[in-house]
């Protein structure tokens, strides 16, 4: 009987990357639902196919009308696409979340301690835990920040930590995003959409709320204002309406009730930052920026940037403005630094890491390089500075030629690459053309650091919609799901 809950015939995952079967979030191997999914799985089975199809169409229409879209680069003017939304939620039981939350807070505390250390005494380098040249010769290291004190010693105010689950069901950190992590608006909109489409599910489950994220974010941003500012003015700095994440920028600014500014709206006078308003210049205290370091101040970084504010760094170094995230956080989320994060946790906090890393070979090390070059067809190779799923080799899915191309590049500049085993990311039932089918997912929780560290329960679940694909990025055909953290241990039937 229980088998009927699982996938239609022929829709179990055909190609698990390296032999092992991926962990299915909803179903046990025998086809029965996992305890925390039982009630949902039963509900899903009871739904007529037409109702689900109609709800999916309704979701699409609503996302279009509300304009929850992302701009597509290099296409006709005004081209905007929806990020596909899947109506099957990703559910996390309470006890798993508690552990995950503790691990995330621990990790982000250590990362902030690391960035502070790097831009001050560099004890971790002196202790020989991380090779100094790895950090100081990294293009993400910003010498301009050396010796600059930032409020509360917080650098990564908003961190998006990408979490995956391996075949054994254990969570691992795949990547830290400490520069301008995005996606939180989808976390919020997906929840709103689910509550609108299926209100009955929320009376049958105690799902931890996420709606208060903008309030928590604003509190955090206000708590890191320059000292002596009683009622700080916070603004969100965007690259503008043509930026791919513009919807999120506008959404967050509106939800927090703060101004959404572009570089041209701000100017610096006497080492202070002002915005141009209809009532004259107004002082700004905290900038939640959604543009990269390189574009922030044309006088210091890229001189051709029109997106930033000339003189901003001067005001920043004088302590008259807080920038969140701080300048120079990229030194800690670079893929070449990632392998050292567990060491950072031990070094700064004296604790052992609650969530581990994915095993990583550093190709600048000879013995790692030898191993990787001998096993390219089964590994994932990533460019150290790549992002968004670009500059990446997925061995099992690559052609011979692609592998040989990468081999040449690795031999030429090994320090530009790391390698990891091809992970069989966990799967979650997802609507595909043929019906419900398992698709690989990850999870990006958003960790906020201010006077304290906090996380809204859950995060953004991204799903690779193409069968067997491991790439969940929205720029590469990924979709999203609502993420539920259940407040009670398991539903009582």
């Amino acid at each position: 009987m229980m088998e009927s809950l699982a996938y239609p015939a022929g829709e179990s995952l055909k190609e698990a990357p390296v032999g092992a079967t991926p962990y299915d979030e909803m179903y046990l191997k025998e086809g029965a639902g996992r305890a925390h999914y039982l009630r949902y799985a039963q509900w899903l089975e009871d739904q007529p196919a037409e109702r689900l199809a109609q709800k999916r169409a309704e979701a699409d229409a609503l996302f279009h009308r509300v304009g929850i879209t992302f701009a597509v680069y290099g296409q006709e003017e005004g081209a905007e696409r929806l990020i596909p939304f899947d109506i099957v939620p990703r559910v996390l039981p309470r006890e798993e979340w508690i552990r995950l939350e503790a691990g995330l807070k621990q990790r982000v505390r250590a990362l902030n301690a690391f960035i502070h250390d790097i831009y001050h005494d560099q004890q971790i380098l002196k202790a020989g835990v991380i090779p100094a040249e790895q950090v100081l010769c990294n293009s993400q290291y910003r010498p301009e920040m050396q010796g600059v004190d930032v409020p509360g010693g917080i650098y990564a105010h908003i961190a998006g930590i990408d979490i995956v689950r391996d075949t054994s069901g254990e969570f691992k950190v795949l990547e830290d995003n400490l520069r301008v992590p995005s996606g939180v608006s989808y976390m919020l909109e997906n929840r709103k959409m689910m509550m609108r489409l299926f209100p009955e599910l929320f009376s049958a489950h105690r799902v931890a709320p996420v709606e208060h994220y903008p309030d928590v974010l604003l509190d955090n941003l206000r708590s890191v204002a320059p000292t002596g500012v009683a009622d700080p003015t916070v603004v969100l700095l965007t690259a503008g309406a043509h930026n791919s994440a513009y919807f999120e920028h506008a959404f967050l600014a509106q939800q927090m009730g703060i101004e959404l500014v572009e570089g041209q709206d701000l100017f610096v006078r006497d080492e202070a930052v002002f915005m141009r308003t209809t009532q004259g210049p107004q002082r700004v205290d905290v900038i939640y920026r959604r543009i990269d370091d390189d574009f922030m101040d044309p006088l210091v970084f890229r001189p051709d940037s029109m997106l930033g504010v000339p003189g901003l760094l001067t005001a920043y170094r004088a302590g008259h403005i807080t920038i969140a995230n701080a300048i120079g956080t990229g030194v800690a989320d670079d893929k070449s630094i990632y392998p050292y994060v567990p060491e950072m946790i031990r070094f700064y906090l004296g604790q052992s890491p609650i969530i581990g890393n994915v095993h990583t070979w550093m190709l600048r090390k000879l013995e790692d390089r030898d191993y990787v070059l001998a096993h390219l067809p089964e590994l994932v190779v990533k460019e150290v500075h790549g992002a968004g799923g670009y500059g990446m080799l997925i061995g099992p899915a690559a052609t011979k030629r692609e592998i040989e191309d990468f081999r040449r590049q690795i031999i030429a500049t090994p320090e530009r690459y790391i390698a990891q085993p091809t992970l069989a990311l966990s799967t979650c039932p997802t609507f595909a053309e043929s019906g419900l089918a398992p698709r690989h997912i990850d999870l990006r929780p958003f960790v906020l650091s201010g006077s304290e560290v906090s996380i809204v329960p859950g995060g953004l679940t991204r799903v690779a919609l193409v069968e067997g694909s491991l790439v969940v990025n929205s720029s590469q055909g990924g979709g999203t799901k609502d993420t539920w953290v259940l407040e009670t241990p398991e539903p009582v039937s």
Binding site: V66, G240, A250, L260, E262, D265, R269, R276
Partner: protein
Amino acid sequence: MLSRTADHLYWMSRYVERAESLARLVDAHYKMSLLPHSPETLAESLCATMKALHMEQPYKERHASIEPRAVFEFVSLDRDYSGSIYSCLRRARENARAVRGSLTSELWETLNSTWLDARSQVARRASQIDIGQFVEWVKERSHLTRGVTIGTMMRDEAFHFTRIGTFLERADSTARILTAHQGDLEPGADAGVVPDPYQWSVLLRALSAFEVYRRVYRDVITPSRVAQLLILRDDMPRSLLRCCKEVYGNLRSVANEQSAETERRAGEMHAMLHFARMEEITAGGLPQFLKQFLDKLQDLGSRIASDFLVPPAEA
């Protein structure tokens, strides 16, 4: 509020209003084209209107002669002409999108779905589109947008800049429609030749003034009364006086340190119309009056821009 935000709001509402004004003109001429009468009258009215709206040149670059259907398609649907209704709806939505956080979600969604709908309607072959239906729809969407604006927005600066955009654009539009018909409105016209009744109906219908005229005057249509209604009546929502009154009132609500002169000029325009008599205006010549009015309006627009919307770079 941010100057750039005010700028986008101002242009957002100008483009919505412009789309509506154009839709009204197309609608009036389209209805005229369905009635039995001489095609010359229609062509003449279209020509004068296009000229007053500065659309003659761009039209002629694309079409050899003034054909009603071609004009309707050009004004309503042309995707490559930045002044068409279609382009106005696109630009209204682009401006709204740039400041969607400053709009209520109802207002944003209204503008966004208007654009999405317009895009899918215009994606069909132009010849298959029912122009009458299209411009009706544009008018309805404009009514809806205005209703949502008034019904959901806080009465703060954002609202006032939105309203300033609306009424400056409307004043401009009414003045241009009057310009297109100024020959029929000359003082001598009363006594002399009776103007073509179709011409009157176009003018009055384009400004929702046909029924109003009947109610107010209960008499035959005469040029001086038409001019009176559309220029000097305070209770006529599209009259020059009414528009100037709204611009002035909203401008006073957003006054800043440098806007005193702009406010004075808006007040002067309002006072001049408020205390004017039709005989004085016609004595100096209606064309002259309308030309001066449009010039003053333009001056006001650029002063508002430099006082509030795009302040000169900081020293």
